[in-house]
Symmetry: C2
Subunit: 171 residues, 2 copies
């Protein structure tokens, strides 16, 4: 339990929370185990649960290009991004589903056997209703995470439109 509290405190989503607040989060978390090579969530599916990695490594697979332009699966595979998460490195995923039933923005597949904590939106909202200070702390962290991702996405868009405009200019 103490190790799990320390683990959650090190994540961006739960950073700054006190030990007794983290303990309340763990009260609504369910431990679930996955074997290696299992799909935890699939890009495009609607989900209402987030996860924290306790042990193991997962792979995040995200499309970069509309799949309609591919001739075969091999070509499609080349244009996906793969990143890996484990308990020490971005242990939280699926956290946007705390907000509302959203389509998953990536597929998550286990690389090794994994132990995860699963937290459902309904349980989180009930907890935030009972303890709004805790709810505010988590929501503030989540908004900051999303703002940082949005900034990065905006920068990427600017780079891509710049590249496109240079190509169009030169052609």
């Amino acid at each position: 339990m103490n190790r799990d509290i320390a683990l959650l405190q090190e994540t961006e989503l739960f950073s700054g929370l006190r030990i007794e607040q983290i303990a309340k989060v763990l009260d609504i978390a369910k431990k679930v185990d996955f074997a290696a090579e299992e799909i935890v969530m699939r890009e495009g599916d609607v989900g209402d649960e987030m996860y924290v990695i306790l042990n193991g490594t997962v792979e995040v697979v995200k499309s970069l290009i509309l799949s309609s332009i591919y001739e075969d699966e091999e070509a499609e595979k080349k244009n996906k991004v793969f990143t890996r998460l484990d308990e020490k490195n971005h242990a939280v995923f699926g956290e946007i589903s705390l907000l509302e039933g959203q389509k998953r923005t990536a597929t998550i597949k286990t690389v090794t056997d994994c132990s995860l904590y699963r937290i459902s939106r309904n349980d989180f909202l009930a907890l935030a209703g009972k303890d709004p200070e805790l709810g505010f702390g988590i929501m503030f962290n989540l908004a900051k995470i999303l703002a940082a991702r949005l900034r990065k996405a905006d920068d990427d868009t600017i780079k891509l439109t710049t590249a496109l405009s240079i190509i169009v200019k030169e052609s």
Copy 2:
């Protein structure tokens, strides 16, 4: 005052809040007036205040392309996006600054004379500390707004990388 409460209740950021909660937000808001053609905030500057439009229209100007590739100002102007906001349509702007001192992601310029409410991050955080239920409600709305923008930005990235990959394939 009643009109201002109704106006805030219709924005995404303050939606779902009760009248007495909105009244607390108005208590920390300062009314500020701008003449037409004034700059309210400049893209890239660090800001810690958000705004609600009470009267008037502002223009949002956002770079789409890195400015380093332009030869002159006229060319640069062509590659900016301009959208307009007023009290009926996306009355809130600068709301990411509630989270931390962030660089402004767009320039805001008044089109007409404008009356705005200005809310500082420090005043908001003090209010959320005293009334965490209210803080949670606003932060939950803000996280939802950011998640929606992030989804749109990710879609844009996929479209742009698809366009680039088609061009590269054909050249």
